[in-house]
């Protein structure tokens, strides 16, 4: 290089180098700005204009480092979000598969997008591939949706739909379908949840059946309780009445609404029943019931009941109440009394003639010499008493025939009723001198077709009663009156008469109007036999009486029409 040329050449070189460097610098800055703009575009903002940051500020500001730091945080946030999403998805999957209901997600074309484990168990057991196939192909297997198809309902309405107790393949399900819509509100997917309710359904069915059976059993029991003749009361442990059957209500003369819920001592008379029930419950006298007889007074007089208890227990063995059965024994007790009285009276009646027979026969056996007349009288008396004994035994035999349901045999023939009446009245005139006898006969003869011995027995009974229950000096009237095809015989006295109650019972076996008066003899069988005999002849017996106004017993007999049966 020449000495005079070197500075200019060097200067030119330096100028050229400088220009190149400037060019290079400008290119680098352009490159830098371009990359910065690319990064700014990525984060969604506008490119950097040159006037915003000059070259010196651009380097000092270091936008790339700023954006890199931002990206680092964005990536970090993304990772955290992904982890959270994964955890949420895992949680949802666990719930999805652990829930007891079957869940399936279908697209608009019925294709299965996903389903949980329970749904596979319910409907797709044994099927290897499910996702992507349609529910129609795998489940319904029909051209049209089955009745109650929730998918169809959701697709039609676009709303949550439900089908209760949907029946499919022998099982019941409660099905709920939910739409999944896009931004335009169009249903894109349907989530369907199946709750199996088969067991609940069968349990409901069995419960209904059991309730029906319980209802029938209750009705059956109530019908039985209503139908039994004995009164039945059911009380709880505190003595409150829970049930009373119609027979009990009738006995107590109370209505259902008046007794249920009330305490026993408020309902029954103060006869000790309530106390006995309370004691039985308190002592838990389980096992054998015991009898208690008490009276229940009412307007018609006392009634006797036999009460029997049966205790009720809970399954734990605690006394929870009692069943009281009430059987009216008024008549039964009366019959027992009358029978007992009859036995006593019959024994006395039999004993009386027997005593005479034994006494007089003993006298005849005595070696003491009696005159023929005396011995004949003794024999007559023995014979007479034997006849009395025989008549009494005949009465007993007649009663035994009646008890056995047989009729008393009748030897019927055409017989004059006047002659029978006259013979009977004559006998009593002779045997009962203190009484007056008035026999009133019709003007024309009365012939009846009857057993004369039995009609004589009837006259004997009626006249005997008239004499027994009339005072000395009283009049006994026997009146025969023809009435059409019948004849009415009336035996009237002016004696003590009878009450209405006594009249009602006078034809009962063993009944005696005045059982307390042991001086009046009789077994109480006479009128029973009289009624049976007159009934057997086709007649009717009637009684009219009033206390202290005498008694008239009348009976009818059919008149003989000239032909024998």
């Amino acid at each position: 290089m020449a000495a005079g040329e070197a500075p200019e050449v060097e200067l030119a070189r330096l100028r050229r180098e400088n220009a190149a460097l400037r060019q290079r610098d400008a290119e680098l800055v352009d490159y830098l700005r371009h990359k910065i703009d690319q990064l700014l575009k990525v984060i969604g903002t506008l490119p950097l204009r040159a006037e915003e940051l000059d070259e010196a500020e651009l380097v000092a500001f270091d936008p790339i480092a700023i954006i890199a730091g931002t990206f680092t945080q964005i990536l970090q946030t993304q990772r955290q979000t992904n982890l959270q999403l994964k955890a949420a998805r895992d949680k949802i999957d666990a719930i999805y598969n652990a829930v007891g209901a079957g869940i399936v997600v279908l697209d608009r074309e019925h294709r299965i997008l996903s389903c949980n484990k329970r749904l596979k168990e319910l409907f797709f057991a044994g099927k290897r591939r499910v996702t992507g196939r349609t529910c129609i192909e795998l489940m319904c297997r029909s051209e049209s949706p089955p009745t109650g198809c929730v998918f169809a309902k959701v697709m039609a309405s676009g709303l949550r739909e439900r089908t209760r107790e949907w029946f499919f393949e022998e099982r019941f399900y409660d099905v709920v379908g939910m739409p999944v819509k896009d931004r335009r509100g169009m249903v894109q997917q349907v989530v369907i949840v199946y709750h199996e309710v088969t067991e609940r359904k069968w349990a409901e069915h069995e419960l209904c059946f059991a309730l029906e059976q319980a209802h029938e059993a209750r009705e059956h029991t109530e019908a039985i309780v209503r139908s039994i003749n004995e009164g039945m009361l059911v009380v709880d442990a505190s003595g409150t009445l829970l049930l009373a059957n119609p027979a009990a209500l009738q006995m107590l003369r109370l209505a259902q609404r008046e007794v249920i819920g009330r305490r026993l001592e408020e309902i029954v008379p103060p006869n000790g029943l309530a106390e006995h029930v309370a004691m039985a419950c308190a002592r838990d006298e389980a096992g054998e019931p015991f009898d208690l007889t008490f009276s229940a007074p009412d307007a018609q007089g006392s009634r006797l009941f036999q009460a029997r208890f049966a205790l009720l227990h809970t399954s734990a063995g605690v006394v929870r109440g009692a069943v009281v059965t009430l059987r009216e024994v008024t008549r039964e007790r009366e019959l027992e009394r009358m029978k007992s009285e009859f036995v006593s009276t019959a024994a006395h009646e039999l004993r009386t003639p027997l005593t005479s027979i034994l006494g007089f026969s003993e006298l005849l056996l005595d070696p003491q010499t009696f005159t023929l007349a005396e011995r004949s009288e003794f024999v007559n008396l023995i014979h007479h008493k034997a006849e009395d004994l025989s008549a009494l035994i005949d009465e007993l035999l007649d009663i035994s025939r009646i008890e056995a349901g047989h009729d008393i045999p009748l030897m019927r023939e055409a017989v004059s009723l006047e002659s029978l009446a006259t013979a009977a009245v004559d006998f009593f005139r002779h045997s009962s001198p203190p009484h007056n006898f008035d026999l009133r006969l019709p003007t024309s003869p009365l012939v009846v077709f009857a057993d004369p011995r039995r009609i004589a027995q009837v006259f004997d009974n009626l006249l005997s009663n008239a004499v027994k229950y009339s005072p000395a000096g009283g009049t006994v009237t026997v009146r025969l009156t023809p009435e059409g095809d019948y004849c009415t015989v009336a035996v009237s006295d002016t004696g003590i008469g009878m009450t209405e109650e006594q009249v009602k019972c006078m034809f009962d076996k063993f009944y005696r109007a005045d059982s307390s008066n042991t001086a009046v003899q009789g077994t109480g069988l006479g009128m029973t036999i009289v009624k049976q005999l007159i009934d057997g002849h086709g007649g009717v017996v009637a009684v009219q009486s009033a206390p202290q106004q005498g008694t008239t017993v009348s009976f009818t007999l059919p008149l003989w029409i000239g032909e024998s049966d």
Binding site: I43, T45, L46, L48, E52, I67, Q73, T81
Partner: protein
């Protein structure tokens, strides 16, 4: 309760992306304190585009941004994401 420190950035008169870059530089610098809830950043700008870009970027970074209209511009409050 710890008091939250507020860092204020005034980028009024500037346009995007400068407003965004300036905000992101401060957010990067104070990211730990912002995430812990100790610091909040308040950016004042009169650039409307910044009310979109700044919140967008900040939310992608896992933080929250609230924009308030003021008389002479906008106030953007940047803070930690609330734990749900």
């Amino acid at each position: 309760m710890n008091k939250v420190r507020v860092e204020r950035i005034d980028v009024q008169g500037q346009v995007c992306p400068s407003t965004l870059l300036l905000t992101l530089r401060e957010v990067n610098r104070l990211q730990e304190e912002i995430r812990s809830g100790a610091v909040q950043i308040e950016v004042r700008t009169d650039n409307r585009h910044a009310t979109v870009t700044i919140p967008g970027a900040v939310k992608s970074m896992g933080m929250t941004a609230r924009v308030h209209k003021e008389e002479n511009g906008y106030l953007i409050q940047i803070g930690a994401e609330k734990v749900q």
